[in-house]
């Protein structure tokens, strides 16, 4: 394309501003139609201490093993006769009370791995602990059931293994405008307008051109579709809140995206846990509350399911530096407007019956949660993605 052509095209692009919004809405009908369900996945990286998140305030073992770290009953937000929320999670208490939060306890898998590295891989690939998979579970979902890269978006600068399939990948978007501007570099645009389609094959160079085309198209689509939406919702001033704000902007603009992925880092609390965890849970809960309000204001909350996990929980017994070491089974939060079993999905495991390393034993395999979400929420055949049949749960 010559420069004149380029200018013409860019005016055309900017004229999209002036198309009445109902026409734009019509374009996105597929994604806007009622019942277009989205999944938002949040990873609390580093291994969040589940025992100090959902606190067993009547449990003697808990207080015995954590003389310094245990949180007193009066400082928790009571959920049941046995369990209370960390006080930083006040905004989540509201969701709990209105029936939009389900807490699944004791989630894990057999022979747990306590390396961040490996445990994250296991959660992201949905593998067995002794099995090495090179594709993520969302990536395999894309392989099977999607057309476009932007069907799964990670709100970050680079793509996690979770979103990498065998053949297809999601796309990482931290700032849609930046990504768009990169993809619209005039020179790269010109290359895209000139390359010769006929000689592209599946082999390496052809693959590079095809990925370049797909990336440009997704970057443009995401930016053009989402830029018209301006949120009136207030978000706290955290990086994580900003990620959720971007996610809400994407969801509310009717982007044809099924899965969103974000993470909040820093939960590896070996030392001075109380302050660190308090700060992080506060960031998580306040950001999440704004996010939920934002979705509610646009009537998209009911079609959004938010799954929060951490690669492992922490040791029941505290360590000598006012912290906790890597553990195994942990709790998972499910937030949504259409929960079947809101509240506490199951009881906390018996702290008398720990594994050989002094960690909580798992009761629910995390892949049962994935299977449930895939089948009942994204409405696809979960066994094709997980390669095994897992028993469904009843939270949705």
């Amino acid at each position: 394309m010559d420069r004149r052509g380029f200018i013409k095209n860019s005016t055309l692009a900017s004229s999209l501003f002036f198309i009445p919004s109902f026409v734009r809405a019509f374009e996105n009908i597929a994604a806007n139609k009622l019942g277009f369900k989205r999944l938002v996945i949040i990873q609390l990286s580093g291994g969040n201490d589940g025992l100090n998140t959902i606190i067993p305030f009547n449990n003697d073992i808990y207080y015995r093993e954590r003389p310094k770290l245990a949180i007193q009953k009066k400082h928790t937000l009571k959920l049941s006769d046995e369990l209370g929320l960390h006080s930083s999670l006040l905004p989540l208490k509201r969701l709990y009370d209105e029936g939009s939060l389900s807490v699944i306890n004791n989630v894990g898998y057999p022979n747990p791995n306590r390396s961040h590295f490996r445990a994250t891989d296991i959660w992201q690939t949905a593998s067995h602990s002794n099995e090495q998979l090179n594709s993520g579970w969302i990536g395999r979902y894309l392989d099977q059931f999607s057309e476009q890269s932007h069907n799964a978006i990670e709100i970050d600068e680079s793509l996690s293994l979770a979103l990498k399939g065998e053949r297809k990948n999601g796309i990482a978007v931290k700032n849609p405008r930046m990504l768009y501007r990169t993809s619209q570099d005039p020179y790269l645009k010109n290359v895209l307008n000139h390359y010769d389609d006929a000689h592209l094959n599946e082999h390496n160079l052809g693959y590079l051109y095809k990925t370049m085309i797909a990336a440009e198209s997704s970057a443009t689509y995401i930016y053009e579709t989402s830029k018209t939406i301006k949120s009136s919702q207030d978000y706290p001033n955290f990086g994580f809140a900003n990620q959720l704000k971007t996610t809400a902007q994407f969801i509310n603009s009717g982007l044809d995206t099924r899965v969103y992925y974000s993470s909040l880092n820093g939960f590896d609390t070996h030392v001075n846990q109380p302050n660190i965890q308090k700060r992080l849970l506060n960031i998580y809960a306040k950001s999440m509350a704004s996010f939920v309000d934002d979705l509610k204001s646009q009537n998209t909350f009911n079609d959004t399911l938010i799954l929060t996990f951490s690669e492992f929980g922490r040791r029941v017994k505290q360590n000598a530096s006012n912290g906790t070491d890597h553990g195994s089974a942990n709790n998972v939060f499910i937030i949504g407007g259409q929960l079947k079993t809101p509240g506490l999905y199951n009881n906390l495991a018996n702290l008398n019956d720990l594994d050989a390393n002094g960690n909580i034993k798992f009761e629910i395999d995390f892949r049962r949660i994935y299977a449930t979400v895939l089948k009942k929420w994204l409405e696809v055949d979960d066994s094709k993605i997980l390669n095994t049949d897992f028993n469904q749960l009843n939270f949705i």
């Binding site: 600068e157 680079s158 389609d197 070996h270």
Partner: protein, 458 residues
């Protein structure tokens, strides 16, 4: 030796070269060039960072005092990052080119991760030392490395409670490949590696009380085997030579295996397992220079980064950016994704990394500007507009050394620039577009060529 063949050899055995170097080498015959390449790598120069502030620490204190322990590891992790920077620097300016490229290869074969700088550094130099040596000694040395003993749980492998992690990966990933052993072989060989441990300084130590001296049945034979015996028995299998040859072929020759070539390599490699001789054999083989093998591999992020440096050297103003760019491109040295390493090939490329790779040369070298100035066009409104706007949110701040590039390419015509920078033929449509662009500035043209999908190939 053909110009193109010199480039091919040096992209696979190194990270590309300057026009002058290619020119000089192309006047020699193939055998001489490859021989020199091997001779230049006879030396071994360890890669070391300054660890003086961490030396002389009493390990007992570290293990008993959690605060001191944390402080040690915080510092150590910074040193591991420093080693990463040094490694990248070494790759850009190596004395022993082939040895360094092989080290990179082996780091993705004997995959290991650790946070203790002394152990990381020692492991890295063991890779470097054995990179062109005897594969048998190599495997044995790796099995006794502190970092590996931790990484694959040899430390937890005890007579009463064997841990099979290392034994499994030894057979599956390091020597034979899946399907060439039985579960029983894993269990029995795990017993031979019981009691493996190390001193704080990284030296190997066998805890005799935890070593199982009993009889083991391995590959149908019975004896009181120790770890080294097991490795010897594995290497008796020709399959081991085949497994390694295939991996080397995929890395240095082609993603797709040619089984005839593999058998030739196996004949060369087995039973002596001399890596240096194997590489000499590959690089002097006619088939290595087949069209189908030239410019058909996707560069790894490290090859891509170091390759740009060979043409236009540049420095990051913020040292940490070296790590950041590796992370964005999907390959951070010393931080492998898992025990099977980086998959490579098309797996390097996703929607984000392709855009990044196309945009980065301009970000590094020309303030993110890629010229679209066409022939006969006297005003470059885009460039003016671009300069007026200035650079906001620049991702990487660099100092490019265009003087050096200008010296390298002084004698090179515009037409010859593409053959020097690109190893594969340019897509026809793209090429037509390139032909319409003005040919005034070689630096502009260099950035244009580096911003193509074709530049990703080697």
């Amino acid at each position: 030796m053909k110009y193109k063949h010199v480039q091919h050899l040096y992209w696979r055995a190194g990270f590309g070269l300057t026009p002058k170097q290619t020119e000089t080498l192309s006047k020699l015959d193939k055998t001489t060039v490859v021989k020199n390449l091997c001779i230049e790598s006879k030396q071994f120069t360890p890669l070391l960072v300054d660890t003086s502030e961490l030396e002389g620490i009493n390990p007992q204190i570290i293990f008993k005092n959690p605060k001191k322990r944390k402080s040690f590891f915080d510092k150590s992790i910074e040193k591991v990052k420093a080693l990463n920077y040094e490694w990248i620097e070494r790759l850009a300016h190596p004395n022993e080119l082939l040895r360094e490229k092989m080290t990179l290869f082996w780091a993705n074969h004997f995959v290991c991760f650790d946070k203790n700088i002394f152990h990381v550094q020692q492991f890295n130099n063991t890779l470097r030392e054995h990179a062109l040596g005897d594969f048998r000694d190599f495997v044995k040395a790796i099995s006794k490395e502190a970092a590996m003993i931790k990484y694959l749980n040899l430390k937890q492998n005890k007579k009463q409670e064997p841990n099979e992690n290392f034994a499994r990966e030894l057979l599956e990933l390091f020597t034979l490949g899946m399907g060439h052993y039985k579960e029983e072989d894993i269990q029995e060989s795990a017993r031979a590696f019981t009691g493996y441990d190390f001193e704080f300084n990284g030296e190997f130590r066998l805890k005799t009380k935890q070593h199982d001296y009993g009889f083991k049945t391995f590959f149908g034979r019975m004896g009181r085997y120790n770890g080294d015996d097991i490795i010897d028995m594995i290497l008796e299998q020709e399959q081991c030579a085949r497994f390694i040859s295939e991996k080397i072929y995929r890395y240095f020759v082609n993603d797709k295996i040619n089984s005839e070539h593999i058998e030739l390599m196996v004949n060369q490699f087995y039973p002596n397992y001399n890596i240096d001789e194997l590489m000499y054999f590959v690089f002097t083989s006619d088939w290595f220079y087949n069209e189908i093998n030239i410019g058909t591999k996707i560069k790894s992020p490290i090859e891509y980064l170091v390759g740009i440096q060979q043409i236009v050297p540049f420095q990051f103003k913020i040292p940490h950016d070296v790590l950041k760019v590796q992370k964005l491109l999907g390959q951070v040295l010393l931080y492998p994704p898992n025990v099977s390493g980086w998959k490579g090939g098309q797996n390097w490329i996703d929607n984000n990394t392709i855009m990044l790779r196309l945009k980065l040369p301009s970000v590094f070298l020309s303030n993110a500007y890629i010229s679209t100035h066409e022939k006969g066009d006297f005003s470059d409104s885009f460039k003016r507009e671009f300069k007026k706007r200035g650079i906001k949110n620049k991702v990487f701040d660099t100092i490019p050394e265009w003087d050096i590039f200008n010296r390298y390419f002084k004698e090179i015509s515009f037409d010859n620039m593409s053959e020097n920078l690109l190893l594969c033929p340019i897509n026809e449509g793209t090429n037509q577009y390139l032909n319409d662009l003005s040919r005034i500035s070689k630096s502009d043209f260099c950035v244009q060529l580096m911003s193509l999908p074709e530049y990703q190939m080697c």
